[in-house]
Assembly symmetry: C2
Amino acid sequence: MFDKRSTVKEKLTLMIPGPTPVPETVLQAMGSHPIGHRSAEFQAIVERTNQQLQWLHQTTNDVMVITGSGTAAMEAGIINTLSKGDKVLCGDNGKFGERWVKVAKAYGLDVEVIKATWGQPLDPEAFQSSLKADTNNQIKAVIVTHSETSTGVLNDLEAISQNVKNHSQALIIADCVTSLGACNVPMDKWGIDVVASGSQKGYMMPPGLSFVAMSQHAWQAQQNSNLPKFYLDLGAYRKASHNNSNPFTPAVNLYFALEKSLEIMQEEGLEEIFRRHARHRAAAQAGMKAIGLQLFAAEGYGSPAITAVEPKDIDAEQIRKDVKKQFDILLAGGQDHLKGKVFRIGHLGFVNDRDVLTAVSAIEATLESRNGHQGKMGSGVAAAALAIKQNS
Amino acid sequence: MFDKRSTVKEKLTLMIPGPTPVPETVLQAMGSHPIGHRSAEFQAIVERTNQQLQWLHQTTNDVMVITGSGTAAMEAGIINTLSKGDKVLCGDNGKFGERWVKVAKAYGLDVEVIKATWGQPLDPEAFQSSLKADTNNQIKAVIVTHSETSTGVLNDLEAISQNVKNHSQALIIADCVTSLGACNVPMDKWGIDVVASGSQKGYMMPPGLSFVAMSQHAWQAQQNSNLPKFYLDLGAYRKASHNNSNPFTPAVNLYFALEKSLEIMQEEGLEEIFRRHARHRAAAQAGMKAIGLQLFAAEGYGSPAITAVEPKDIDAEQIRKDVKKQFDILLAGGQDHLKGKVFRIGHLGFVNDRDVLTAVSAIEATLESRNGHQGKMGSGVAAAALAIKQNS
């Protein structure tokens, strides 16, 4: 690898919603020689990371570790708690909401979709209405994406969860892939039954591990689930986990990274992690507005993990490419019909105030050089710096 | 990690059938900072590794890369080519054969099992008889484990494949997890339809990636497969692969390792890799016999990846533990009913002549110190050294 990447390429800064930047000490831990996954040494790592994961999830439930992507974790949560033909309510206001509809349909579930326009949040009342109308309790689960990565919208998971609990026994299955480790997701307090996440997000790790935490309510449903599975059979993961082990050979080196990254997160503390992400959201939003660019997510619903920006008359993809070329900062583009219409600034995981200030200034300088800057050069950075100060 | 592992722990040598030892340059490649998985830089890595994987598989078919264990790859091969109720023939002469029976049953397949006692090879004639009797062509696939890791037996995949082709259109789905990269598995020449493998074996990489290659015949069957899947939907992997991409966020850093390890393998060349593994099998077998220990696999069917040893009157688990404690060499124990009855010497992947000589001498010294040595101290090493000489 190294020999084919120039110095400039090694200067790359990731500001996409995953993979996110990884601390050097995490990379170093990952780079140590693998050990046997059935050894006492590895069991000690599994035991410790299990405890760390419960801390991160604010739960006493088991958190299972799958070698796979966040999609594998969400699929596992769905197919381990439901049975063929079960009715589910699925929120869809972006690419990931769409994906969970597809997963549910692939397994023969009966899906009622609650939609919102991309950029708008899901309406908690809409879930309430559907559940009220479900007088025969046919709806077995509600599937919701907390932070919708494609649009930068943070759905109100707490309110949706409360509305579900007020009217139903349905499970709440939440995609927390870009919210966990970025903002408050108190699993037990909010009564979320399935929380799915992935390592290349708030965890500050490379991709390859994903996580599923399940409530007692979800484990009861798991007893009756008849959907076929083997690699994603969470019963096997839970049984192995209770012996500080894994049912299949796990990505041992990613476990080394996990242990280290969760240690770093514990040193910072949950409150400070959430405060930092909220500050970066404020700074990115303020910076973009001051430059004269419109935010894509509805006011008040921006995700602390990612800010989607809609530059209107300017090609968003061109801005993204120029920022990469000139400043070695990788921003994310728009997905599907948003391609060319939005770019997205990832400020998730191992990101500090400097990174956000830098991203705003690089975007600002790029627009200035293209005559697309609608304010005074420096106004974006000034607004971002003020937001950082006010949120510190 | 590092700070909690003593110098002695860092001296650990893995001689288990996975995780296997990893070259320092592969670890270093893996330890570089992640890059965007949708970037041109990463597409170049996917393109190169796709070509390298075809070389390793001796095939012109697509080889798909899944973030997951070898089990995920085998499960993908099975559930993407078959439909509910399909009849399959499944070879079972060890723990992994057993596992594929379980996977097939989990998805509602109708499984006819061809068994052999653990330690014995599967009988190619038995497959022929079943297929001859299947006059209505009900058998849609034959599932076989090439190198059975639990017993150290190498099944005669070439003969089984030939017998299947002589009498049937059934697909041949092969678990090549510990054979690929250790001995000849010419996918196209032998007409294997599905070849599954995992990164922590002959690939000389940490665990976390797995691989499925499928023939045109298998892709035709895939068109009609109705078993539910999403994360393991190989159609999505193939489509993405043709764009040098992945359907889900892959383990980017393991891809860095993959590129480097396959480069090292290409430098050595397939013929030399196979010769080296055959030599290590010969050395391990000769050494154990000279010490007076019995091999568990039937004569002539020992795997080039792993040698299982049955010390009879001595507790195999105690030998394993003593070798670890005194010499920092991790051998594998027996699985299920073989626990305490056998130990297994992994000589798979990044292993050289010195490693095998060392393992034999450490086992010999351990037996000598326990008065379990049934020959003259040094006889094991002498026999292993001679076998190395004769096979060089």
